[in-house]
């Protein structure tokens, strides 16, 4: 177990190093001059050159990347060009809002997706199957910005149940979360359904029924825990998609989280923020996958590390 954790941590460091390298190469290759961005259109060439020197932008690539890595290790993600504040501070300020949204969005996916998956597994007939496949295909195909705008119009504007947009308490999180839940739930329900159908046909389910167990007990006590294993695997990879989705959703709902900040930074070519948010997202995904790998052992006793 300990050696597994150490190995996994080592692997995670390598992954994060690769991501840092790629984002750095991309930022390096972008044809924009940070010194010019900071000083504005009216600064003289001398002023710009002086700032380039001060920022170390005239140094060779390897030297610059080395500096960048050292800074990251010390928790310094650089300064925003436009706001002149540390990127780490900016991310830290918006982290709770984004975290709250991510959690609600993920829970919405599960709350919508898992019961439908179980229900469909029990009604595994041709007709219901076709309807379910169609509906879930629509769910998967709908773009989040479209669902978001529809919900915003009908639920927030017309029915006035939730705020139309902005950031605040839980009521501001529900609609964006629901937007993600509706589009993402279909994956979970499809996966759980097929996994559940397999499990329900297994010998140990027959054993449970032969003991006189009632359907609810068979499904929740025996089948669900076995069927959920592939769903958890998907859930781990979904966290990456969740982050991508949240960037769009935060923008649509004017929700001031990390995603919105990233979109603004891209529009303004505020490179340190872009690099910082990408790296942060990577850390988040890597950490989550790590946690899920440890979770397997708790759910399935056959898995040892």
């Amino acid at each position: 177990m300990i050696s597994y954790i150490i190995r996994r941590l080592g692997g995670s460091v390598i992954v994060l190093f690769g991501i840092a390298l790629i984002t750095f190469i991309l930022a390096y290759a972008v044809p924009s001059d940070p010194a010019r961005m900071i000083l504005g259109q009216h600064a003289t060439l001398q002023q710009v050159d002086a700032l380039r020197k001060q920022m170390g932008l005239d140094e060779p690539f390897i030297q610059q990347f080395g500096n960048y890595l050292m800074n990251i290790i010390h928790g310094n993600l650089g300064f925003s060009f436009l706001q002149n504040l540390p990127v780490a501070t900016l991310i830290g300020q918006r982290l709770p809002a984004t975290f709250q949204l991510a959690l609600v969005a993920w829970l919405m996916e599960l709350i919508i997706g898992l019961p439908i998956g179980v229900f469909m597994a029990l009604k595994d007939r041709k007709m219901t199957d076709h309807v379910f496949n169609l509906v879930s295909l629509i769910g998967i195909s709908l773009p989040t910005f479209f669902v978001g705008l529809e919900l915003m119009y009908w639920v927030a504007y017309r029915a006035n149940l939730f705020p139309v947009g902005g950031t605040g308490g839980l009521s501001f999180v529900i609609l964006p979360g629901l937007t993600y839940g509706i589009t993402g739930a279909a994956y979970y329900s499809r996966l759980l359904k097929s996994s559940m159908v397999d499990v329900l046909n297994s010998d140990y389910i027959r054993t449970a029924r032969a003991k006189g167990a009632a359907p609810l007990r068979v499904i929740m006590g025996h089948a669900f825990r076995n069927a959920i294993i592939p769903v958890i695997t998907y859930g781990a990879t979904d966290i990456g998609a969740l982050f991508g989705g949240i960037v769009v959703i935060e923008d649509v709902f004017g929700y001031s989280g990390i995603g919105q900040m990233a979109v603004q930074a891209i529009n303004n070519l505020d490179t340190p923020i872009i690099m910082g948010t990408v790296l942060f997202a990577a850390v988040f995904v890597v950490a989550f996958n790590f946690i899920v790998d440890l979770l397997y052992g708790l759910i399935d006793p056959r898995i040892t590390y």
Partner: protein
Amino acid sequence: MSTILSVEHLTTSFGTTSGYVPAIDDVSFHIDKGETLGIVGESGCGKSVTSLSIMKLLTANGKIQSGSIQFEDRDLVKLSEADMRKVRGNDIAMIFQEPMTSLNPVHKIGKQITESLRIHKGMRGPAARARAIELLNLVGIPRAAEIVDEYPHRLSGGMRQRVMIAIAMACDPKLLIADEPTTALDVTIQAQILDLMRKLKAERQMAMMLITHDLGVVAEMCDRVVVMYAGKVVEQGNVRDIFRNPTHPYTIGLLNSIPKLDERKTRLDSIPGAVPSIENMPAGCRFAARCEHATQRCADADPGLRDVSGDYQARCVLV
């Protein structure tokens, strides 16, 4: 002796693309209290469908179409699903062929044994746990107090089948249905499991329905035997009568296909051909196509079960 289970004219069908097709057709037999009944036949002859019909655990496309299953004073065919659940695992318990996959991999052994105690007897906590350990001891599992907290994947096939037997014994069933309980096990383990089942049956005066394709197991374990072929009972009677004096050509073929220790042979005997598919059952005797004694009248009409003597019947024109 009084009868505990009486199956009368049971027909169970499965939905296929060409409508409902009977997998077992007009099957009748009975089991007396404390008796062991063997059900033998090749794969696909309807042995397992018979047992799953009694438990009403058929898959969604299977359905009992006619007949009755009288257990004590109730007709199981007419029982509601809720009432049937009170019978399963309580009055009638069942063990299956595949011990490796019949236990839930994510639950501890103890939890799986106590489940039917929780369902039927409302037993919980330390009392249930103590009973689980007692049951593990009963089925001859060493270190029962430790095994109760183990997961199934830590146990061998033979041990898992013992656990399955412990689960079946939990509520002291009146009837145990064992569907090929030793088929998946090594020969030495088979003998141990059969010994255990025989011992438990004797101690508890439990009736047993033993499904097998192994006539050796039948000779060893059973009082009476029902031979099934292609969904029908072709011969039934006392084990001694049938082994000494088999009547139906199919039973004779089955007995001949057992290799004997005192014979030198280069090829083992077998019955030529295969069981007809349930969608294409012949109108007459279902064994006719594979039978060396078959005549035109065998193909024309099913001969029906005929009395050979007393409690001994065979479905053959030769009787």
